[in-house]
């Protein structure tokens, strides 16, 4: 496990590189969820990175500009800036690992950014989208509902009225909101990936719409529902990754195929 800063001097990104435990030409870039869901996912991403590196993948997990230890204040991270960071991280991972092929794994907002990066210049062997944010509007509504509950619990009920400029403990200004709400993975340029896997707990219409869109663009896409035990499935999407084991095993099994050939 090797932490590092990379990227441009005034826009440095923090990442942790996990070199493969055995010689390998395949690398995996892990894309964290958005900052509201980041802390709960951090531990799971470390576990996933460790497990993938043991299996023989080079792995890089990194913080988008304005999140985690990367440069930038917490009010600057838009999907556009995060996608640019994914491109930068792919280049860094290629330099670090000398890998021939790179797969991308993203959770929620991270899955959207990974997909958008693959439709704006980067290419992946496998693109694994875990509970992807497909429609930004719905994602923001979901976070707002959680924010309302947290404010209520923490005795900030007055914050549950009117339009928010903070969301789950982070600034959420008009620019960030507009960019996030504009996410729509079912339009735009097709993704450059040999294969797409969409992992979700419940198969919903939006997942099917995404699969159909990718299939129509000529990218083989599999939609897979992963059942978690009730004690995990009962938690919000913000907390679920921290507890998830079934998805972790599924991801490792899925990427094992990329080590061959």
């Amino acid at each position: 496990m090797k932490p590092l800063f990379f990227g441009e001097a005034e826009r440095r990104l923090y990442g942790v590189y996990h070199p493969a435990a055995k010689p390998s030409r395949h690398a995996v870039l892990l894309c964290y969820p958005g900052m509201q869901e980041y802390n709960a996912a951090h531990w799971m991403f470390r576990r996933l990175a460790t497990s993938l590196s043991r299996e023989g993948h080079h792995v890089l997990r990194f913080d988008y500009f304005g999140t985690g230890d990367s440069d930038g204040d917490s009010d600057v991270t838009t999907p556009e800036s995060a996608v640019a960071d994914v491109h930068t991280a792919i280049r860094e991972l290629r330099d670090l690992s000398r890998a021939r092929e790179i797969s991308l794994v993203g959770l929620r907002f991270g899955a959207a950014c990974a997909a958008l990066a693959c439709s704006s210049g980067s290419a992946a062997r496998q693109l694994v989208l875990w509970e992807p944010v497909i429609y930004g509007h719905a994602y923001v509504r979901e976070l707002e509902a959680q924010d309302e509950r947290r404010n209520l619990v923490l005795l900030h009920a007055e914050r549950t009225r009117g339009r928010r400029n903070e969301l789950l403990g982070f600034p959420f200004n008009a620019r960030v909101r507009a960019g996030t709400e504009a996410i729509n993975l079912t339009t735009g340029s097709p993704v450059k990936a040999k294969r797409v896997v969409v992992l979700c707990s419940d198969e919903r219409n939006e997942h099917r719409a995404l699969r159909d869109w990718y299939e129509r663009s000529g990218v083989p896409t599999e939609l897979r529902a992963v059942q978690e035990p009730d004690e995990v499935a009962g938690h919000s999407m913000r907390e679920r990754p921290m507890l998830s084991n079934a998805v972790l095993l599924e991801l490792a099994a899925e990427l094992r195929g990329s080590l061959v050939g």
Partner: protein
């Protein structure tokens, strides 16, 4: 930018990882290094990225900080064969951080910042290590006092509390009710020293000349009024080395940005007051004669 950040690996087999945050402009001569680490299971950035904002703000005031992960959390690994219990290991890791900063950056003195559960290690190291010249507890130890119970009924005048109650019970928002109860557990499950022990620890720190900043919040905590701490340790006179702030409207993890900003400013003003009288330019070429008295910072309450 007013800071530079570097990866800082230390401890046995360099298994402990952190980010060293140094001032890019003026730095305070002979200032202590500031230490922050995990709050509960949060990795070293802290809840709502609190420690990132804090350490960068402190760099702007001239202080160097290390935000790091203790063994087995965040980006730090547990050294092979280390079977010590977590609290003991956390204290050892804070000491490792101090050793590494002395070795690599020549720091001789330190101020650990404990936040909720990390107060335990901050307090233990502070009491036992003379290199600690200041300790900051954010939401540290709280014991219910007579004054707490006398003020308890005042909670029922809080409109937000009624709104929460109504929306949970009447409108059936059981998820919120469950979260509130979980929060209560998260806040209360701690291994506290006894009030008598805390009193003697604080006395020992003050006698040694260390400065303390204690910040408490209201909400669902065991803390209800500013002076409660001194009642807790049966020392109504207090000490001018112990500074106390109470934010009745803030919550345990400073969920709102304005609350975080307020605490960060307060920590900065505390450090400037006790340790920030002489500055030097960052350039290592600056001779000792370049020492100068600091201009008051607009962010500091001097």
């Amino acid at each position: 930018m007013t800071y530079t950040e570097k990866i800082f690996s230390f401890g046995p087999s360099a298994a402990l990882q952190g980010v060293l945050v140094e001032p890019r402009g003026r730095r305070i001569e002979d200032a202590p290094a500031i230490l922050t680490w995990n709050v509960g299971l949060h990795h070293h950035i802290g809840p709502h990225r609190f420690f990132v904002t804090l350490t960068r703000s402190l760099a702007a005031l001239g202080f160097t900080s290390l935000r790091f992960d203790i063994s087995g959390l965040g980006d730090s690994e547990v050294s092979q064969g280390d079977t010590r219990p977590d609290p003991e290991r956390a204290v050892a890791d804070v000491r490792e951080a101090m050793e590494a900063l002395t070795k690599q950056r020549k720091f001789q003195t330190f101020v650990p910042i404990g936040f909720c559960s990390s107060v335990d290690a901050a307090h233990a190291v502070g009491v036992s290590d003379p290199r600690v010249v200041g300790v900051i507890h954010l939401e540290g130890y709280g014991f219910r006092t007579k004054g707490f119970y006398l003020r308890y009924p005042l909670r029922f005048l809080n409109r937000n509390r009624w709104e929460r109650l109504i929306r949970m019970r009447v409108l059936g928002d059981w998820k919120a009710a469950a979260e509130a109860s979980q929060d209560k557990e998260r806040v209360y499950v701690r291994d506290y020293p006894t009030p008598q022990r805390l009193k003697s620890d604080i006395a020992a720190l003050v006698a040694r000349g260390a400065a303390l900043l204690l910040v408490y919040v209201g909400g669902d905590t065991d803390y209800a009024y500013k002076e409660q701490f001194f009642e807790m340790i049966d020392d109504p006179a207090g000490s001018n080395r112990v500074e106390l702030d109470f934010y009745p409207d803030a919550d345990h993890t400073f969920f709102l940005e304005e609350d975080r900003r307020r605490v960060i400013q307060r920590v900065g003003s505390f450090l400037r007051k006790h340790f920030g009288t002489v500055e030097r330019k960052t350039s290592s070429a600056a001779p000792p004669s370049a020492r100068l008295h600091a201009e008051p910072s607009p962010r500091a309450e001097r």
